[in-house]
Subunit: 369 residues, 2 copies
């Protein structure tokens, strides 16, 4: 999807991909196949680039520092990206900035688990500080015994744990901002995301019924994070909204994010173009939606070996649905694409949600009518 934006801007995108059948490798000429855990591969790749950026957080932090030391323009830089890589560091930093977080503690031993349980009660949440994704690396523990079992398993694999209070949230929000090296920032409308089993399923734009004050607060949090952590490029701050309307930071992502895919069709400047503009230190684009409501629904792989035949039905059923498929092999639960729907003036949000949900369900083979 970054390639679509790069083509428009006339910017040459080069990609380091792990495998020749990675989606990016299929659409970007001259993709280099290599491992982002290999410093030499990273250095050799970066040598041909004006700016190095990412579509995931998994390049080792030390390597990012080495690349920067050797003169590579890494955006976001290692000093910022580490907070998207390490949830423990992220909690320390955000709490230090006075930004609202769930109660949390770093866990080193069984006593830490018991202490945290005494403070917030059970159940609570344990998270791997690094490497979790889409619900992986997260455990809800009902009692101390369960917590100890998770810690033992984590210790065996060399995984460090963070404990967080279970937040009685009513919904999840996402506040996305872009920030450039010269310090310009732009805040997208705050959106609501529907998560099931830790995986984003749908996004509603703007977050329905969110008060102006809460929206401004969410954007303030995201802009503060971007500035104080020195983020360049797109930043997504995932937030919990609690019953009393309070906001708590859940996760950070420093790249185009699933919660911003709506902007590809629904905003004047899509998040991939904005990310490129930000990391290239070009002025940022307008973030205004082009429709009163926009809905994004993820297409998760189910058991259709091939989604293309479903296009005929989905496109005929609703010519307004924007289909984005990623060229990934279909695997159960894998995000293989998404659809965006722009709401029609005078129609309800429900109508727009129904359109997006139907298209995504049909594309994944969940329904056949």
């Amino acid at each position: 999807m970054m390639q679509q934006a790069a083509i428009g801007l006339g910017v040459e995108l080069r990609v380091l991909a792990q495998r020749p059948d990675d989606p990016a490798a299929l659409v970007v000429p001259g993709t280099v196949i290599g491992d982002h855990h290999d410093l030499d591969a990273l250095k050799s790749f970066a040598a041909g680039c004006d700016v190095l950026t990412f579509d995931h957080e998994h390049v080792p932090t030390d390597f990012l520092h080495e690349l920067e030391a050797s003169g590579v323009a890494v955006r976001p830089g290692a000093a910022a990206l580490v907070y998207a890589q390490d949830k423990g560091l992220m909690r320390q930093k955000l709490s230090g900035l006075g930004l609202p977080c769930p109660e949390w503690a770093l866990i080193s031993c069984d006593d830490d688990l018991a202490d945290f349980g005494a403070t917030v009660g059970f159940p609570y949440v344990l998270k791997a500080t690094r490497g979790g994704y889409d619900g992986r690396g997260v455990w809800m523990v009902d009692d101390l015994a369960a917590a100890k079992a998770v810690l033992a398993g984590a210790a065996e694999r060399g995984v460090r744990l963070l404990a967080e209070a279970k937040v009685p949230f009513v919904r999840e929000l996402s506040a996305q901002v872009a920030r450039s090296p010269h310090g310009q920032a732009a805040a997208y409308p705050v959106v609501e995301s529907l998560q099931i089993d830790g995986i984003c399923r749908e996004v509603y734009v703007p977050a329905p019924g969110l008060s102006e004050a809460a929206a401004v607060e969410a954007q303030r949090i995201a802009l503060t994070v971007a500035k104080e952590l020195g983020v360049t490029g797109m930043l997504a701050v995932e937030l919990f909204e609690t019953g009393d309307g309070a906001l708590l930071v859940n996760e950070l992502a420093m790249r185009p994010h699933n919660s911003g895919h709506w902007s590809m069709d629904g905003a004047v400047t899509g998040q991939f173009e904005q990310h490129l503009r930000a990391v290239l230190d070009l002025p940022l684009g307008q973030v205004k939606p082009v429709a009163p409501v926009v809905v994004m629904a993820n297409v998760l792989g189910l058991d259709l070996p091939e989604v293309y035949p479903a296009y005929k039905h989905v496109m005929a059923h609703d010519p307004g649905v924007k289909v984005h498929m990623y060229g990934k092999a279909v695997k159960p639960g894998r995000k293989i694409g998404h659809v965006n729907v722009l709401g029609l003036p005078g129609r309800t949000l429900d109508d727009t949600v129904e359109r997006a949900r139907h298209a995504a369900a049909y594309l994944r083979g969940e329904i056949d009518e």
Copy 2:
């Protein structure tokens, strides 16, 4: 630009390009370098494709017939595309269908030139039946001597001529439709194009002040052409509007067309996506604009060797401008990109035109403030 649409649809685009630095070759992996005047190159390229389509009209008609005879799905097919390749055949066909054309005659000898002058008067227009583009292959002749000189020059180069009356038009319009092999069609809003020296400079969407009746008539003409000529994919019918509101067909293009670039940002379904959907026989997408007015301005190469530095000014000046650059080397007069601007509700068309015109002029180096 087709690659941007192909990525979204998850369709693998393969390109046959003349040179490794052709814009498409820069952004599409595995581009085959070859000559579209070479039947073997065409056949070998087509062997790996489900559907063969075009971004220009210059593949020899005979070769298209041979490809079809060998089982290649050529869309638009040779029987349709020939009318976009040969202006003489186009005039015969459209007049046969009763569609409004300027007065015209095929020219074989000096007597034909004199006869046509006696019928419509001087000045009139001579056109090469094949190969003209952006004002090339078009001559306005003031008298018989000038006409004879053009004919003599054309005969030397083996170029056949068509004569057309000079139309006292007040503006040029373009009616774009998409049509698929199974016969579905969709008509985009009729637009006005501003041409200078035979080159499109700006497009206004929808055509300002066009009556509902005239818009419907323009769409009817385009839909009739698409159906009766058996077009698949995008079709642009360029029209003259005369002082009394009559419409006359000027040119046909059977591909995404400059007059439709506005749709990339300004319509639910952009013309490149629509072309792919049409030639792949997928259901067509919604053609509704996403803003009350949309303006496209071409960026013509002037004397800036490198346009990228101008981005900072243009993007900072107006964050709502959508920049599309083609990765072409800058040559005077060459179309090297375009900008789209979505009009803001409550603002005038003039305001939107001014925004697009400023950005395009700055990008081409015509202004520096």
